[in-house]
Amino acid sequence: MSELARNLNALDERFAAALAQADDERALDAVRVAFLGRSGEVTVLRRSIGRLPAHERPGAGKEINDAALAMEARLEDARAALQRHIFDADLAQSIDVTFPAIAPVEGSLHPIRRVLNDVCAYFERRGFSIVLGPEVEPDYYVFDALNIATDHPAREGFDSFFLSDTLLLRPHTSPMQIRTMQLHTPPVAVIAPGKCYRRDAVDARHLYQFNQIEGLLVAPGIHFGHLKGTLLGMCRHLFGPDQQVRFRPSYFPFTEPSAEVDTTCPRCAGFVTQCKMCGGSGWIELGGAGMVHPNVLREVGYDPETVSGWAFGFGIERLGLIRYDIDDVRRYLENDPDFLEQLG
């Protein structure tokens, strides 16, 4: 055996021993530097070629190169094995995925706003704009302009909070009909959501501070059927594709004809006699609506002979009760954290 062969054998043994010792990436790297680095053992051995007779040099060079290539391959295998080992160890880990999550800081919208946004989305898609207005109103907008003169018996139905003889917290959103029509010429297509106030004793069905959404469409050729179509679409958008809508005659001084609007009970569809939501009637009352009274149109300078329109005013709380199964309107003003979390 030539000396070179002996040296290569010995080198190989040392390399194998060092490789066996190396159990992480850094140790492997040290092995590479020690044997294959710029001043590593293979380089030292290569330098010794110079001492050999000229004819042996090419063969020796090839032997050393082959050995170096083999070492590099083994090093690479070892590296791959180590990597595999690390992955295997990692993949063998298993945690309790049912352990409670780290909670994010979550915000939410009030259920009233969520319902309102749903309603607004529907109406915007149908070409309506959304207008907002003041909560403190002169009685002109609340009553007089809406065909409810002083001493009109219907004023009693609006048990209002007065700030002065003529200034009050609006008991309905209908003043926005007047404000909108006074600012714009027909066609007018708006909804007006907002807070309203009435001197109602608070119970599961009543709040003294509540929200209404007013709808108003005035243009040539508008009739009751358009109102029904729009409200049917709204109910289906909010409560499901099978909803139906029913009009019942009613009375509001600012509409003629007037209607109470009912929708089918989405909870029981009329099949449950003890239904908590509709009392077994199968219908739920949404609010008042009707064709804008000619006196109201005249008040804002519209010609009732050339344009007609419908209007409605619904309680948003009530829509929320239906949509979210809320049992008591007081919850809206209590803002219990659990209530906000469940419905946010």
């Binding site: 979550e106 915000g107 939410s108 919208l109 009030h110 009233i112 706003r113 607004c120 915007e124 149908r126 309506f128 704009s129 959304i130 207008v131 909560e135 403190v136 002083t150 001493d151 018996p153 219907a154 909070f161 007065f162 700030l163 002065s164 200034l167 714009h184 007018v188 297509a189 959501p193 807070k195 106030y197 001197r199 109602d200 003294y208 501070q209 469409l217 243009a219 508008i222 009739h223 009751f224 059927g225 358009h226 179509g229 729009t230 009009f247 019942r248 005659p249 009375y251 003629e256 004809p257 109470e260 064709m291 009274h293 000619p294 007609s308 003003l333 803002n335 954290p337 906000l340 946010g344």
Partner: protein, 788 residues
């Protein structure tokens, strides 16, 4: 309004099922709030007591023999004490069902009792409204007839809602009229013709003087020889089922006619009306009146009274007076059936705080023709009871028919969306009592019936037609909306704001816009004065709803105290201030959080920094601009931990730690941080433009600067930036230290200066040189020292 179905059936044929009637009424515009079903009672017949003897074995019992129209009398052993021979009474015969028991023959102390005489209570009537003991029936009832059927005792009572335009339907007859029209079945109205009057010398007839224009019509009628004792049992039972307590024959007739026709009546004891002269006039200021309700009121000229020649006898259309009321001994009465101005009655009733069945009808548009009808009806009922009736004295303008309406049949389609034939329109309107005069095809003149004061324009008639043909005929259709220019801007700002706050981890709440004086006590306890004058509600329902909020903060503070756990919340709502005699209303936004106190030195408040971060992020989201922050001081905020945010010099928000004294006064047990956003000074969103960054790498230098305590970090950043110029693309102060490692009165700030060239890679030498300029400037201007 309580409507006994048994009473309705007098006037109109109806289905048996009360639910069906209620549903039909609802679709006519008269929703039924409740159907009060009555207990099933059977086997009760009218009987006359023919003999009455003491029970041989029992002192307290009597044995009655009762003729029930059958071959043999029934024998009943009774303990009742108000029975006498010849009385007609309700008899529950063997097998009868009463609400609580079934009647079976049984032996009582040796004598077989074959049934039971019934009290009002046992027939499920309010016992305390009728005589004690056995109920007394009318002598003319056929013996053996079914008492339950005769008086409708098992028929349900409907609680009907009547809208304020339909005072004519605030009556049994009015409801019956609606149902007759809906079912196209005839109405059996009672007679409204005066009975043949007894002639009397003119001097014995009442005189009426109308001194006020607020009395449109006044019918006075003298009725003498009033029957003694109670009203007939059919009338008393009807009143009781309708919720009206029977009193005496005359009073019951007055109530009965009001419930039947909607027209309130008033009866005066003729002997107590001075000069038999009734005067309708304004009250004299200071005049007093003791009402039927036992309350003495001092009046002024806003009150309208019916007086005699001496004094006020009653409040017109509202309440009678005690002095002239009819009593058990009244022999002769003066009937009043009048029409007053609704507004006057309404104002009087509100001003005096007295609301009666009469005033709730008079304050609406009662048709003058009803006054005549009701007077006739009452006279007729009293006459039938044996009274002597004199001719009515009618004062006021002559009755005129309601104004006819020219009606174009096309308005049906125009308003409802579907056409109707002339014949169908005619049928509907005639069913409601209108008179139609056809003018041309599609055109007619419609005269509303005398009792309908609410029909004056074609749209009113369209509603009437729709009610009769059914609102279900309206077909849902869609329509295209013509383009219009109305903006939804304000709503969308609010919506974006709410979404941005929710994204920042705040939960929206809605608190009361009304509050009580308690809030001012809380502020006083905290040593704070309100920042604005509060607008005040004149007629609050309770003291805790007296004031309008001028800020959202108190409501949120009360909420945070109540929840008593770390919370992050916001509210968007209007606030109100009293300013120079008017009420200013502005939209406001407030967000706040409470957190557990952190473990940090007193000179650091990470809660504030967190709040500042949220504020800046929110303003940036809303406007596209990062606002600058400056120290701020204002009521309610901690004086050292509060900042204002400005965009182009305009304040858009303030934020800070809540004044700890306010925290305690509100009862919040955690540090509280509050930001107020001023919605109306917030500039509109600037749409951001993308600016590509230079592609050359950045480098940075970290400096530890020792500085006097009062140097604000914004100033450090500003000077460093200014000294370096455009090479500096950011100065970020990332830590502050105070303590033994720096001299007293000084603090250390850790500052990272980030550098970049836009034309080449910046070299270390260039970076060092640039930072050298910054250090020199900081030393020169702020006395900064580099910490080593």
């Amino acid at each position: 309004m309580r409507v006994p179905i048994g009473w309705l059936r007098d006037y109109v044929d109806l289905p048996d099922d009360p639910q069906k009637i209620a549903d039909r009424l609802a679709m006519l515009g008269f929703p039924v709030e409740q159907i009060e079903t009555r207990p099933v009672i059977s086997g009760v017949v009218a009987g006359r007591i023919t003999t009455l003897e003491k029970h041989p074995q029992a002192d307290r019992l009597q044995v009655a023999s009762i003729d029930i129209g059958a071959d043999a009398p029934v024998v009943i052993v009774t303990a009742a004490t108000n029975v006498a021979v010849d009385q007609v009474i309700p008899v529950a015969v063997a097998g009868a069902h009463l609400p609580d028991l079934t009647i079976e023959p049984r032996k009582m102390r040796g004598i077989q009792s074959e049934g039971m005489m019934c009290s009002a209570q046992e027939l499920a009537l309010p016992g305390e409204w009728f005589e004690d003991g056995i109920m007394q029936l009318d002598a003319d009832l056929p013996l053996g007839s079914d008492v339950v059927a005769a008086f409708g005792l098992s028929e349900a009572v409907l609680d009907v809602d009547v809208t304020s335009n339909r005072v004519d339907a605030m009556s049994i007859l009015g409801i019956a009229r609606e149902l007759a029209a809906a079912y196209t079945t005839p109405l059996r109205a009672p007679s409204f013709v005066q009975p043949a009057p007894t002639d009397a010398p003119a001097g014995d007839l009442p005189r009426v003087t109308l001194e006020s224009a607020d009395c449109k019509r006044f019918i006075a009628q003298r009725i003498a020889d009033l029957p003694a004792g109670p009203a007939p049992s059919w009338m008393r039972i009807r009143l009781a089922l309708a919720g009206q307590r029977p009193v005496s024959a005359a009073v019951d007739v007055s109530n009965y006619v009001m419930l039947e026709t909607a027209q309130p009546l008033h009866f005066y004891d003729a002997a107590k009306v001075a000069g038999r002269h009734l005067v309708v006039r304004d009250a004299h200021p200071g005049e007093t009146l003791l009402g039927l309700d036992g309350i003495e009121r001092t009046l002024d000229d806003r009150a309208l009274v019916v007086a005699d020649e001496r004094e006020a006898l009653g409040l017109a259309g509202v309440l009678g007076g005690a002095a002239s009321q009819i009593t058990a001994t009244t022999k002769e009465l003066l009937l009043e059936s009048a029409t007053f101005t609704g507004a006057r009655v309404r104002r009087m009733s509100m001003a005096l705080g007295v609301r009666t069945d009469a005033s709730s009808r008079h304050e609406k548009l009662l048709a003058p023709a009803l006054a005549d009808a009701a007077a006739a009806r009452a006279a007729h009922l009293l006459w039938a009871l044996g009274a002597t009736v004199y001719a009515p004295q009618i004062t006021g303008a002559p009755l005129c028919a309601p104004k006819a309406i020219d009606f174009d049949a096309r308005s049906v389609e125009r308003l409802l969306g579907f056409p109707l034939e002339d014949a169908e329109i005619r049928r509907a309107l005639q069913a409601l009592g209108c008179t139609i005069e056809p003018l041309a095809p599609g055109h007619m003149r419609v005269a509303p019936p005398a009792w309908r004061t609410d029909l004056s324009i074609p749209a009113d008639l369209v509603e009437e037609i729709a009610r009769i043909v059914g609102y279900d005929r309206v077909v849902a259709v869609n329509h295209a909306i013509a383009p219009h220019t109305i903006e939804s801007h304000d709503f969308h700002v609010e919506e974006r704001l709410a979404n941005a706050l929710a994204a920042l981890g705040y939960r929206e709440i809605v608190t009361s816009a009304l509050h009580g004086a308690r809030l001012f006590d809380i502020l006083r306890r905290a040593g704070l004065t309100p920042s604005h004058l509060s607008a005040e509600v004149r007629n609050p329902l309770s003291e805790d709803q007296r004031f309008l909020r001028y800020s959202l903060a108190p409501g949120i503070c009360e909420y945070l105290a109540r929840v008593d756990a770390p919370m992050r919340v916001f509210e968007i709502g209007h606030v109100f201030m009293r300013e120079n005699g008017h009420v200013a209303e502005v939209p406001a936004v407030l967000f706040a959080f409470t957190q557990e106190p952190g473990d940090e030195p007193a000179w650091r408040d990470s809660g504030f920094l967190r709040l500042k971060g949220d504020t800046q992020a929110l303003v940036r989201r809303m406007t596209g601009v990062t606002p600058t922050a400056a120290r701020d001081r204002r009521t309610g905020a901690h004086p050292g931990k509060s900042a204002a945010f400005l965009i182009e010099g305009r304040e858009v928000a303030t934020c800070g730690r809540l004044d700890p004294r306010a925290e305690v006064a509100f009862g919040i047990r955690r540090p509280t941080y509050v930001c107020n956003l001023y919605l109306d000074s917030l500039p509109d969103l600037v749409i951001p433009r993308y600016v590509p960054r230079p592609k050359f790498p950045t480098t940075y230098r970290d400096l530890a600067l020792v500085l006097p305590l009062d140097v604000e970090s914004a100033r450090v950043a500003e000077i460093a930036q200014g000294a370096i110029g455009s090479l500096c693309i950011g100065v970020h102060i990332f830590d502050e230290y105070r303590g033994p490692q720096v001299p007293p009165g000084r603090k250390s700030l850790a500052v990272r200066v980030t550098l970049q060239r836009n034309d080449a890679t910046i070299t270390d030498e260039q970076a060092d040189e640039a930072v050298g300029h910054a250090i020199a400037a900081l030393e020169r201007e702020l006395g900064a020292q580099l910490r080593t």
